[in-house]
Every structure is written in C-alpha cells, then in structure tokens.
Amino acid sequence: MRTIDRRSLLGLVRDAQGRAGPDRKGLTEQEARALADRILGLSGAEETQVRLASGWRANTRFAVNRVTTAGSSEDITASITARFGKRAASITTNRLAEDGLREAVRGAEELARLAPENPERLPLPGPQSYATVHGYFDSTAELDADRRAAVAASAIAEARGSGDLEAAGFLRPTAGSTTIANSAGVFAYHPGTQFEYSITARASDGSGSGWAGTGGRDWSEVEHEELSARAVEKAMRSRDPRPLEPGVYTAVLEPAAVSELVGLLTRSLSARSADEGRSAFSRKGGGTKIGEPIVDSRVTISSDPAALGAAPFAGAGGFGGAGSDDAGLPLKPTTWIDKGVLENLFYSRYWAQRQGVEPTGFPNTFIMQGEDRSLEDLVSSTERGVLVTRFWYIRAVDPRTILYTGLTRDGVFLIKDGRIAHPVNNFRWNDSPLAVLGKLEAMSRPVRVTPTREVPAIRTSEFTFSSVSEAI
C-alpha cells in the first residue's frame, strides 16, 4: 500500500464537502476557480490545462421484488495536462492535499518532457465566452437513499399487484460540477445533474418480459409510476410469444431503440475518417459526402447543449477530455443531417484548421426531430409490422456501411391492421442506421430517452431480422 495521505485536505475542498450553505453538490464556481488557479500556479509547464470533476453519485438497484444494493459516493478528481511545445501528458488524481497536487503536477511535467512531440498539437485555446445553460436540478440532487427506496418499493408493488411478476430496476442520480481551465485563460464551469431510471418486469416463470425507462436532468419531470405501469403491462402482454420467421419487416421502433440506432450514426460522423477514406461518409475518389442526401428527407439530427441542459463547452464529458486541444471550446448548435442531407461532420480543432473550416463539437448529445403524432398513432397506422421496445448487445459488423448487429429485448409484438395482435419471439438483427432511416415511413413526437438524447419513435418499411433468439 502506498502511503496514505492523512494530512488535512486543502481547505477549499473540505469547504465544498462539509459546508451547510447553498446545498449544491460538487465544487461551486468560486471553489473550482480557486482549485484550478492553485494547480495552474503550481505548474512550471509552458502550457497547463486542468479539468475538475466533482460531485455525488448514488444508486439503488432492485431485483426479484426486493432492493438488492444501494450506495453513494462523493469524489473530486483533477486531470492535469502539462505541455512543453508539442509535448504533452496528463495526470488524473483525487489526492488534492497540497503534497498530492504537487506530486501530480510534477508528474505531468515529467511525463510531458519525456513524451515525443505530437506534430498535430495546437496551442491551447484562449479565453472564450459560453452560453449559460441551466442543467442542475435539486429534484435530482436530493434523491437520497430513502427517496430512492420509495421509488423501488412503488415499482415492486406495481409488479406484485399484477400477479406473478418480478420487478428489477435501477435508479441513479448524480449531481456535481465540471470545470475546464487553462493557462491561456480558459475558464469554463458547469454544474449539472443527471438521472437514469429503468424497470424490467418479468413473469416469474420466465414467459414474458417488459421494460420501460428514461433519463434526464430534472427528476420532477418523471412520472415513475407511469413507467412502472408501462413495464408491467408490457410484461403481461409479452407472455408466451408466438414464433415469427426472421426476415425483412416493416418495424415500429420505440424511442429507446431509435436512440441506439441514431447513436451509431452520430458516432460515425468523423470528418477525418471520411477525408482519409475509411468511413461510410468517404466519397469514392476522395473527399466526403457533405451536401449529399444520405437518409430520408424528413430526418434532421442536431446537437445543442442548451436544449438538453448539457455543458456548453467541449471536454466536460465523453469526447474531448482534458488532454485534448479542444477542451474548453464553446459548443455551438450544429445540424449534422438536415432534411436527409449530410450537413456537417465532426471537425476537431486540428482537422478543422487543416481543412480550413470551423471546428465543431462532437455529437455526444443529440436531438432527432419528429412529427406530430404519438407512438400509438404509429401503431394504428401500420398494416403489418413488428413493434420493438428496445435493443441489446449492439456491435459493429462493417464500418463501411455502418452495419451493426444486435438483438431485440423486453417486448416484441406483431402489429396487424393497426393493432397489436400478439407477442412474438425476439430476434437478432443485422442492419445499418443509414438503411433504416433511408426507409423511414413515419415518426412520433420526440421524447427524452437519456440525459443527452431526445428522439422520436419511428416506422421504417424495412428492418432486417436475421435470426430468432429464444431469449425472453
């Protein structure tokens, strides 16, 4: 075991954890600025970048009609990137006492001096201005163990009350703040909350399974009883599925499934891969497919941090971590696919400069527009098709066509003459979001599926179910 740091923690950090004042979780802007300044002040590197992630995460799980585990933790981590010219290295630590910080800063400097030059390295960006985004909600930050247990108890009661069903589910709130600061003058701070909640109801004899779930930032918007009821109803209706042959079917995909498909598409939007000839968006002979229609003309997919309560700067989560040249750049609203036409690809700062265009953020939050109708309307206007609740175990098969394979799960039904006729077996599928959205027939109003995604349910005229899965 390494020596444990038993010295008193940095005063400001203790303040952040123990203070009774404004009851926000994670570092306040003032505390974050003080900690970032402290780290930048310790650094002897030519350029220094700091990312601070702080806050609380808690969870409660239930299964087989009882609460199985629950827990919570608080942490503050600092990722420190030191640079000397085109040499750079990062150290991430949660040891924030004076000696821990000094050790980390010195370590980053040492690593950076040793690292060979990266010719693609750009100087860190200077001061920026950001849109103000409201992403912190007390309704989520205050989901303590008793409140979470009450949600679980209500879901379990709903399942019990409907016969021999067993509920399994998960509620996870997080609350905290993220900061990017650098020696060139960037200071970007964003406090935020997130939650995810899902429930699976299963027949205790294994003959049926139903799922419902959501995610977002403001727990007060969630009607969790309604979600439990939906999962339970789906489990009841899904019992004893009838066999349906694999093949190409008209399919109504619920928002959870659409969110996965669209995510496969957005993560393939790298301009660099396209320019280098190794992407579905490479044009034969060179260049990209920007400006070309790639899916149905009603499909519009865009990113706008303000619309989903996400941090308005790169590097806060997902892509563009502390080490990247892009961290701290403002994220502007960007349309990737506009009425079916490929409008934009993801350009990192480096690749944008090389290609002479403006950099974009990475599409790790997105909204897909829909049409003014409900999921029920999509079903009732379907002559014959398969209704899919959600997908499972999606993996890339061929990046040239964005071909993926995956399975259906927790509620698959045959639709006949506008009505759900009966449950059918699960399937393995092999298909590409480009093909599915190319054969789009209709969409519902978009709904929030995760903290970072909002999509409609869709009906596509062709979806390839390639083999049967006996899983229920």
């Binding site: 390494r2 444990i4 799922w211």
Partner: protein
C-alpha cells in the same frame, strides 16, 4: 535511451519468441492451473495506518446495526500511452485513492465510499453504509444468508511479473510503439496504424468483520494495435486489430509478444484482407484459434453460469440466463461433448481475474463448471451459496466477489473460465489436416449475444478457407452465428496443451451502475461441426 540503442535492445529480446509467432507463444507458460511462479515479487504488507482506517469503518458499520461488513482502501492507477502512425496521441496517468464500506443490515446491503482518508471520514462512511442498508431493509425483509468463511488473519498476495510497467520510462514505451508503427507503415499497402499500451496497478487492503485483512497488488497490461489498409481507389478499407490479449503480467509480456516480426505478420494480413475472397454463406466446419474462441467461451459459458443472472438479479440490464432454474439444470444440462471440461478459477498465474482473496475474504480457488460435458456448478459469492447448496452439496463461496474500485459496491463477477485441452498431443495442424471443407478463424472480431445467452454472432480478424485438410486462401466479411448449446454440442475436436492460449479482456461489463471486470479465458484450438456462416459484406448480412 537513444533510439538506436532502443531498437537494438528490442530486437534482441524479440528474437527468441518471434519465430513461433506471437499467438502461440503464451502456451508454454500459461497452462491451466499452472502454479510455477516464474517470478513472484515480494507481496505487499498490511500498513498500520490503513488497518486503522479499515477497523474504524467496520466498527462504525457494526455499531450502526450491520451484522456483517467489509471495507477496502485502494489505490487504483492507470497509465495509457497511445500513438498513431508517427505521433503520440495520448500519454496519461490516473490514480484514485479512497475507501469503500459495504454493510449487511437485516438481510439488505448498503454501501458508502469516500475519498477522504481520515478516521472521521471512515466512520462516516461505515455509518452511512449501514443507514442505506437499513433504508433498503425497510422495503422488504429479505432472507439472505452468508455462507461461512474461514478467518485468515493478516494475508498478502501479488500478481506475478518480472518488470513493473511503472519502472519502464515513458519515453521508452512511446518509442517502442513508434518503432512498431514504423514497421507496419513500411508494409506496402498499409495507410494507417494506431497502437496503445494500457497498464493497471491496483494496491488494495481489504478487511472483513469475519477476521481477514488482505493486502494485495495487481499488475495488468493491455497491448493493442490496429493496422488499416486502404484500397488505392478508396473504394475499400480493411483493418487487422485485436492482435494481442491483455494479461495479469508485467512489461515482459509486451516485450516478448509485441515484436517487429509479429507486426510484419499483422500488417501483411491487413493488406491481404483487401484482396481476400468474399465468403459464400452456409454451413462450414469451423476451426477456431484460441485467440477467437476465448471470447465465445466468455459470452456463451461465462455469462450464463453467473448465478445472480440465472436468478433474475441482473434482469434490468445484463439480463438473465437460459441456464435456469438451477434445480432443472445442475447435473442435468448437457452443454457439450464428453471431453468438454470447463473450470472456473482465480488462481492461474497471469490470469486477469487471478487474486489471493476476494472482496469477502474468500481464498482464490479452482472448481468445475462443466464436467464431462455436463453443467455442474455456477459462479458464487457468499450470499449466493445457500441458493444452490442443496443441489451442489457445496457449502462455501467460490470467491467471485469483486468491485472495480473503491467507490463501487462488490458483487458477483466472472472468474477466469477455461476450456481444458485434450490430454493427447493434438496440434493445430492435426485439426486442420482432419478437416475437409472448413474455415479457420483467428482473433476476436465483432461479438453480440442475447441477454439469456441463446443466440450469438461472432466475427474474427483473419479467416482462412480449409480445403482437403489444408489452409488455402484468405476469406473476408464473415461471422458465425449459432445457438449456444447447439454450438458446444457440435464441438468435435480439440487441441492438446501445445495449442493452449490465454485470451481475455479488461472490459467485462455487468451491473448498474456498470462495473468493469478483467477476466482471462484459456483454451486450446477447437473444431465445430457445420456452423452457420454469414457474409457480413452484404448490406443485409445473410
């Protein structure tokens, strides 16, 4: 180190192993259940300050009503080095230190963790864990009981490694990758190469109220490389990735396997894939190299034999298991042929899930999951034993409790799970020679399986047609798709110990919130009779 010196020394160390190829080189040192420690570094000792914190946490939890508690202090370190062609894309290091406490209160679990290393914080975490357990116990009175475990007192353990990766200078590691990239780029037709080294060092001390306090050190390495060839007219691109598997070993593992000679082979395979023939879909006899088969074992044997899954505890995420209910399957389900022996273990040298004691103070062990083709036992933790002890006659945990770090709750995770080789000396050439019309697959590719583990589809990296007992031409764009029990019962030939190889992953995922687990799977080459092959190059893969 000067670049010239560096190249010289790496070439020297590479010599011995490169001739037989990197993929088979592990066989000698990685026999299932091998106990010969080539190098066992001094194990860590329990440090007095850490013991003090752990005891405070445990006392606080029991004082607040816990009938049982366990706690761990851990320092988790990761170092990553990434390169692309002739440049460095990433040099990063992270460390995280903290304390986590799990409390068992009236049959329910609570967990709390803190990054503060003080007695006060340890007490707060212990009390909080017990309070969360009590809140859960109010929802439902549960009947969970914990299987007995021996108190081991003060114990310690370390992974076996020759060279601590933290002792190799960053500059040497970066240069090592850049030199290998140069080898790949020197191959006609190769346009891109990326390579990465990921090192893990975990030092934990865990304590239980049953009387075990264990100081342990884990070292793991994960070398990766992907080489891409693009057709001259940009109409096509093909990559060779998944070239090596991670292991619970030190720098020597990389030095011996990730060699210039090996890179030349991988690069030429990437280029050959551009002109390889598209597979004609249909049934073939499938010969799987262990570098491909390990993942199939992981997905279609490892996950279905997790007892919590089988009983519905993972229903909302990872899924359940076709291998249920236990009373219907233990001692009854024929998984595969008579010669199929599957063991679970946390004891093999170099295994990623290998450990001295688990999070509940249960000593690492090896046990059969499938014996003579019949399913006989699951993976268990202390709370799971009573669920099946009437069926197995086993009254103790198999030691599968694991938490990914100090801030995560321990739960049942997969141990190393291995397919034992044939007792006879059957070589890869023997297996191919005995196959008339088949396909030989190396290294893992795309992989997907349903949540009860019935239906799977796996790809690979390199595919060869077998005709009349000989490897003929390279094939591409293919995946094999099967039902788990059909597939394993179609296994009709396995290699001997000489073909044994240990694959594995850093990223076995399970639980909510998701936790990763590192796990190894050893196996020999194996053949499967008449398995369905898909052509994935066609838009609708059929």
């Amino acid at each position: 180190m000067e670049r010239r010196d560096f190249v010289k020394s790496s070439a020297l160390t590479a010599g011995a192993i490169a001739l037989v190829g990197p993929r088979l080189s592990a066989a000698g040192s990685a026999q299932a259940g091998s106990t010969t420690a080539t190098s066992m570094p001094a194990p860590p000792a329990v440090d007095a300050a850490t013991r003090d914190l752990l005891m405070e946490a445990l006392d606080a939890a029991t004082g607040a009503g816990a009938g049982y508690a366990d706690a761990r202090v851990g320092l988790y370190r990761n170092r990553r080095i990434g390169t692309r062609e002739r440049r460095v894309t990433n040099v990063s290091e992270s460390d995280s230190l903290g304390l986590g406490v799990r409390a068992f209160v009236s049959g329910s679990w609570g967990f709390a963790a803190t990054r503060e290393m003080s007695r006060e914080a340890a007490v707060r975490a212990g009390r909080k864990a017990a309070a969360i357990g009590a809140a859960n116990a109010r929802v439902e009175r549960s009947l969970v009981t914990l299987a007995p475990v021996e108190p081991y007192g003060d114990v310690s353990w370390s992974s076996s490694y020759e060279i601590d990766p933290w002792d190799v200078p960053i500059g040497d590691k970066v240069q090592y990758l850049l030199d290998l990239n140069e080898v790949a780029l020197g191959t006609q037709g190769v346009s891109f190469v990326s390579s990465e080294l990921h090192f893990v060092k975990i030092e934990t001390t865990s304590a239980t109220t049953e009387g075990t306090i264990a100081a342990q050190r884990i070292i793991r390495v994960n070398p990766q490389m992907s080489i891409t060839a693009v057709a001259p007219d940009r109409s096509d691109f093909q990559s060779r990735g998944a070239v090596l598997d991670p292991a619970g070993r030190g720098w020597e593992y990389i030095r011996d396997r990730m060699t210039p000679e090996a890179v030349e082979v991988w690069a030429s395979e990437a280029v050959q894939k551009l002109s390889a023939a598209a597979v004609e879909p249909g049934p073939y006899d499938l010969v799987l190299h262990p570098s491909n088969l390990w993942l199939t074992i992981h997905e279609s044997i490892g996950h279905p034999t997790e007892l919590d899954r089988a009983l519905g505890y993972e229903a909302n995420y990872a899924g359940t298991s076709f291998l249920a209910p236990p009373s219907q399957v233990i001692g009854r389900t024929r998984y595969g042929p008579e010669f199929m022996q599957i063991v679970g273990e946390r004891t093999s040298e170099g295994g990623l899930a290998t450990i001295g004691w688990d999070e509940e103070g249960v000593k690492a062990q090896e046990w059969p999951l499938i014996e003579n083709g019949i399913f006989v036992d699951y993976q268990t933790t202390r709370e799971q034993v009573a669920w099946i002890s009437d069926l197995t006659g086993i009254q103790r945990s198999h030691g599968c409790s694991h938490a990914q770090n100090w801030s995560s709750i321990p739960f049942q995770r997969m141990p190393n799970i291995n397919l034992l080789p044939a007792l006879e000396d059957v070589t890869l050439e023997d297996v191919i020679g005995a196959t008339d019309r088949g396909i030989y697959v190396e290294s893992r590719g795309s992989y997907s399986i349903d949540q009860q583990r019935y239906n799977f589809q796996f790809g690979g990296q390199v595919f060869w047609e077998i005709r009349g007992g000989k490897k003929t031409r390279m094939l591409r764009d293919l995946a094999y798709q099967a039902r788990t029990l059909d597939f394993w019962n179609a296994m009709d030939m396995i290699g001997g110990a000489g073909t044994y190889y240990v694959g594995g992953s850093f990223y076995d995922g399970k639980g909510q919130p998701g936790q990763v687990n590192a796990v190894s799977h050893g196996c020999p080459v194996a053949r499967f009779h008449q398995i369905n092959i898909l052509n994935t190059g066609r838009r609708r893969a059929g």
